[in-house]
């Protein structure tokens, strides 16, 4: 029987996180404080984060030791297995070898606990009694709820009200782990009360929930705020994924040609990829790809992908001819197609051309996710489907080129609490062009009939 999985013993689990800041060819530009225009200083972050995490945020040490209590919690599900996706390889008829890190084996089912556990630990050590955070669908909220319970911290999660109503099982998970899950906007904060006064039926937004969680932390000396993406220390904690993968691939005697992950806030992408970026900086020939969600108006006319028009991402996304087709779509909206929310480290790596970004439409990603589930069994989280779509594209390219590429990607989580999304896809609710544009244009001519904000 051919080998499917590579395990590491618990004793082989990495004892340090990797900090890419030590190896960047040019230093990360410090984020500027919007009020002063000056680089953000540790004391600016102190109202919401403990100083031991702020030190990690600004650290340029290459290796940061993982505290023993964190390793003990990690050992509940780590090291995670490295799989070979032989089923998908066969389904695609590709000569590529596809490997993936299965981060879906953690208790909440995603990579998020890698930083949640670390953050809970550092807050506990700093003397904090309670953590506050926001969540949308609840993936981060449930990871932090579990982590807080592990270290005896209270946890308060402001869950966007539309998500609170739509994702009851995630809410139940958080409450099972002992967290207090509050629909946002709420009457617990001034920010929430102000919104409710204007609109009692407000469905909430991530921005409102963030405001509530931060205010909740700032107003309580024994509380701090916790964020599950974007920040340097979050990405740092996730690097255990890539460090484990390197050891596992070494056992097989292979090194990846392409490393891929889905990049929303950047943490799962960075977690797998940053150790390989280090290798690339030191001369390894490896392509590293961040797969992103975006729309794609002309998919029916030819396979192409959007990509940044320049490395600084100052131009609109441009169509790139990734599969050799010569279709050129019409120019589309400039401002709105710029990327939002990427982690500063990931943006910096794009500017340095150490990684590249590819974007995929939701129909493509769900198609890839269903293909994956049918070939490999596991049902991926919808976010993970972006990485799978990128893998499928790369594997088919390898087939076209007749190359036996080695592809590694981060299977960042399972989709068992996201079946409503699969249902929407499978029932055809995500189809394109539901309404003829001419009909909309005619209707919009009489705009008086539309409600105004």
């Amino acid at each position: 029987m051919e080998q499917i999985k590579v395990f590491l013993d618990e004793s082989e689990m990495p004892r340090q996180w990797y900090n890419i800041q030590a190896d960047l060819p040019t230093p990360l530009r410090p984020p500027l404080h919007p009020a002063t225009g000056q680089p953000i200083k540790p004391e600016d972050l102190a109202p919401v984060f403990p100083m031991n995490l702020i030190e990690q945020e600004v650290s340029t040490e290459r290796w940061i030791p993982i505290p023993e209590p964190v390793l003990e919690k990690y050992a509940l599900w780590r090291p995670t297995p490295l799989y070979r996706a032989r089923g998908l390889e066969k389904a695609l008829g590709t000569p590529a070898k596809i490997y993936y890190k299965n981060e879906g084996v953690s208790p909440p089912g995603s990579h998020k606990p890698n930083t949640a556990v670390a953050q809970a630990y550092y807050n506990k050590v700093f003397g904090i009694k309670r953590l506050s955070t926001e969540t949308g669908a609840g993936q981060w909220g449930s990871a932090l709820s579990m982590a807080c319970q592990m270290f005896g911290l209270q946890c308060r999660v402001f869950m966007v009200k539309v998500s609170y109503n739509q994702k009851p099982y995630r809410r139940s998970m958080m409450e099972t782990w002992g967290a207090e899950c509050i629909p946002s906007p709420s009457d617990r904060t001034q920010a929430g009360r102000k919104i409710l006064a204007q609109n009692p039926d407000s469905p909430g937004s991530l921005g409102i929930a963030i405001s509530e969680a931060i205010e909740d932390a700032v107003g309580d000396p024994e509380a701090r705020y916790s964020l599950g993406s974007v920040l340097n220390h979050v990405l740092l904690h996730q690097t255990i994924i890539g460090l484990e993968a390197q050891k596992q691939l070494e056992k097989l005697g292979v090194y990846p040609d392409v490393v891929m992950g889905c990049a929303g806030g950047g943490s799962n992408f960075a977690g797998l990829c940053l150790p390989f970026v280090r290798d690339k900086i030191h001369g390894k020939n490896v392509t590293i790809v961040a797969a992103e969600p975006t729309s794609c108006p002309t998919l029916t006319k030819g396979p192409f992908r959007y990509d940044f028009g320049d490395t600084a991402m100052t131009t609109p996304l441009l169509a790139m001819h990734t599969l050799g087709h010569d279709f050129v779509p019409a120019p589309i909206h400039a401002g709105g197609l710029r990327y939002h929310g990427m982690a500063p480290i990931v943006s910096h790596l794009l500017e340095e051309k150490l990684i590249e970004a590819r974007a995929f439409d939701q129909l493509e990603t769900f198609t890839a996710g269903v293909q994956w589930a049918r070939a490999e069994g596991f049902i991926p989280a919808p976010e993970t489907n972006h990485a799978i779509a990128a893998v499928v594209q790369e594997a088919l390219r390898a087939k076209e080129e007749g190359k036996e590429k080695v592809i590694l990607f981060n299977w960042s989580g399972h989709g068992y609490v996201d079946m409503a999304a699969y249902d929407a896809f499978l029932s055809g609710k995500l189809t394109r062009y539901e309404l003829p544009e001419e009909e909309i244009r005619r209707a919009l001519a009489s705009t008086e009939a539309f409600p105004k904000p």
């Binding site: 972050l45 998500s163 700032v218 000396p221 794609c296 500063p344």
Partner: protein, 102 residues
Amino acid sequence: MNAQDILARMDALETRCPKLGHQVTFEYCRQESLKRPCSRALVCWNHRLPVEMILKKLVGEETYEAVFGGPPKSRVESLMEAIESAKQRCNAGGSGPREAPS
């Protein structure tokens, strides 16, 4: 089909929100940010609807430009703004400056 019917049909369309991580309707996206469109609305909807035209009509050119005209704020910028706002609210509400717990 009249304008209200068209809007009702558009409002019922669903897409996956990359910020929240689940399905949302167009109705939510077009007024996500305190009745203003979500800053990702163009990215998320332009392949399904002439969303630029629709949003300009619904919210007006001025609001549209305010949301989509400039470069989007980074998450870190938004975070710092939220911290400053929260500090001001807490100070106005009588909370004093905080010390790290011992």
